[in-house]
């Protein structure tokens, strides 16, 4: 057994935090992505404009800069709002932003923009005839979405989603810079304290490799599922 000099349990906790952060941000990113893609494809010009600005702005700025902006900015912004409320109405509210929640919100917000692009492309790839056929059967728009557009779209979206998920998983490492105790931060602290870089960093790297490789297997399975009824393409 490898001797982690007492850092073993904290490394495991860090790995758990990484996994939780990644899964929760993914869920948020999927919801935001679907909503934004729908907004971009809608008939409503202001809604479309907001979606375009959101996706373009987020995707042209580094994740770390956005993270710092939201992380350090959110608390100050919130304090200014609560101060204003106090000055105007006399309610004294004090809200402290939980770093974990802030991390989930930030990564979700960033990857919502990437997901939106993936979903938009995939929705556009769905044959119009299929949607018209649904409407001809008297299905409501929601039923058409649930039974026709969504399952057909997923076939085109899955490769992009898988890719986004891998990038998201690796991006969670950045939260260690802004102060969350994920496995990278624990390993960096342990490295600085003991000067044993490889002892701590190699297991962390392996942890990421396991997570990305397991994801690849899951996405392969999902892709076979959503490709059912279509010929295998190479």
């Amino acid at each position: 057994m490898i001797d982690f000099m007492g850092y073993g349990p904290r490394l495991l906790e860090g790995a758990l935090l990484t996994a939780q952060l990644a899964v929760l941000s993914l869920l948020l990113a999927l919801v935001l992505g679907l909503a934004t893609a729908s907004a971009r494809l809608s008939q409503n010009p202001p809604l479309r404009a907001i979606a375009v600005v959101y996706t373009v702005a987020i995707r042209s700025v580094p994740d770390l800069v956005l993270m710092m902006l939201l992380f350090y900015g959110a608390q100050i912004g919130l304090n200014q709002i609560t101060d204003a409320i106090y000055n105007h109405w006399g309610y004294d509210i004090f809200i402290t932003i939980d770093p974990f929640a802030a991390g989930v919100a930030t990564i979700g917000l960033i990857f919502g923009a990437y997901m939106a692009e993936t979903f938009r492309g995939a929705f556009l790839a769905v044959d119009r005839g299929q949607i018209e056929a649904g409407a001809a059967y008297g299905m409501s728009r929601w039923l058409v979405f649930r039974h026709i557009r969504f399952p057909l779209m997923m076939r085109h979206a899955l490769p992009g989603l898988g890719n986004n998920w891998m990038v998201l998983l690796k991006t969670t490492a950045l939260v260690s810079i802004i102060g969350l105790s994920d496995m990278v931060r624990i390993a960096a602290e342990a490295t600085r304290a003991t000067h044993q870089t490889f002892l701590f960093m190699i297991p962390v790297a392996l942890g990421y490799l396991v997570m990305t490789s397991v994801s690849e297997v899951i996405f392969g399975w999902l892709s076979r599922r959503y490709n059912a009824g279509f010929e295998e393409q190479h």
């Binding site: 702005a57 042209s60 700025v61 580094p62 994740d63 770390l64 800069v65 956005l66 710092m68 902006l69 350090y72 900015g73 100050i76 912004g77 891998m166 690796k170 991006t171 969670t172 490492a173 950045l174 260690s176 810079i177 990278v184 390993a187 960096a188 490295t191 600085r192 000067h195 044993q196 870089t197 490889f198 960093m201 190699i202 962390v204 790297a205 990421y208 490799l209 990305t212 490789s213």
Partner: protein
């Protein structure tokens, strides 16, 4: 640069945060970021070219070894690779007394090493995908003309594969620019590092980070535009008539 800053000083007179000194810091960060990204991209590109050919070769052990390299570097965060390069080299026993120490002590070189190996891994896979997608007929035609493998690569496969890889490579360049923001954790004063310093000094997260976000945005759009132009010239033969 100094003169330019002096000339705009009157306009900044009422601005507490964006003084000429702050702008000079941002400029230094800008130069550092561009240098770091450009050098790692060039080195990564030089490394990726032979690696992608090796990855496409029929020699199984070679192809497998290169796949393992790209799998490891694409499956782990760049931040972890940067820490391994930075602390891993610095904490090797005895290295602080050796002649290479002045090189390693400067965080620029470990950062360049990590960035170069990372972008080379992604670029290798991009080029490999393009090489593999070369129409079989083109390769067979080259063979029928009696070209050796080397000549077929040089005259037929690479010129067309590298052109087709251009859009994906453009994305990789922008990805690298954004990924370079982590250089500040090993005390390199890149754009993000400067923004953090400005934030810490004035406690003004919005001004400091939105300004730097705009700098990155300008760089991203410039790179995107450059690749669009390049694609227009190089991929003319693939355009619909």
């Amino acid at each position: 640069m100094q003169e330019l800053l002096q000339s705009i000083a009157p306009w900044l007179a009422d601005n507490a945060i964006f003084t000429p000194q702050t702008l000079a810091q941002y400029w230094e960060g800008f130069v550092n970021t561009v240098q770091l990204v450009f050098i790692s991209l060039v080195l990564g590109l030089i490394l990726a070219l032979p690696l992608s050919i090796g990855r496409a070769s029929r020699l199984k052990p070679l192809s497998l070894a290169i796949w393992v390299y790209t799998w490891v570097f694409r499956g782990t965060p760049l931040l972890v690779q940067l820490y391994i390069a930075y602390y891993g080299l610095a904490f090797i026993p005895g290295i602080q007394q050796s002649i290479v120490w002045p090189l390693i002590r400067d965080p620029l070189y470990p950062a360049l090493l990590a960035f170069m190996l990372n972008t080379a891994a992604y670029t290798t896979e991009i080029f490999y995908g393009a090489i593999k997608a070369t129409p079989r007929g083109e390769v067979e035609a080259a063979r029928a003309y009696g070209m050796s493998s080397l000549m077929a690569y040089r005259r037929i496969i690479l010129p067309s594969a590298l052109r087709r890889a251009l859009p994906a490579y453009g994305n990789e360049v922008i990805f690298m620019l954004h990924a370079s923001a982590i250089a500040s954790v090993v005390t390199i004063t890149d754009l993000t590092g400067v923004a953090y310093n400005v934030y810490a000094r004035f406690y003004a997260p919005f001004s400091a980070f939105i300004f730097v976000a705009l700098c990155y945005m300008v760089l991203s759009f410039a790179i995107q535009g450059a690749f669009k132009l390049l694609e227009k010239r190089m991929l003319v033969h693939l355009q619909p008539a």
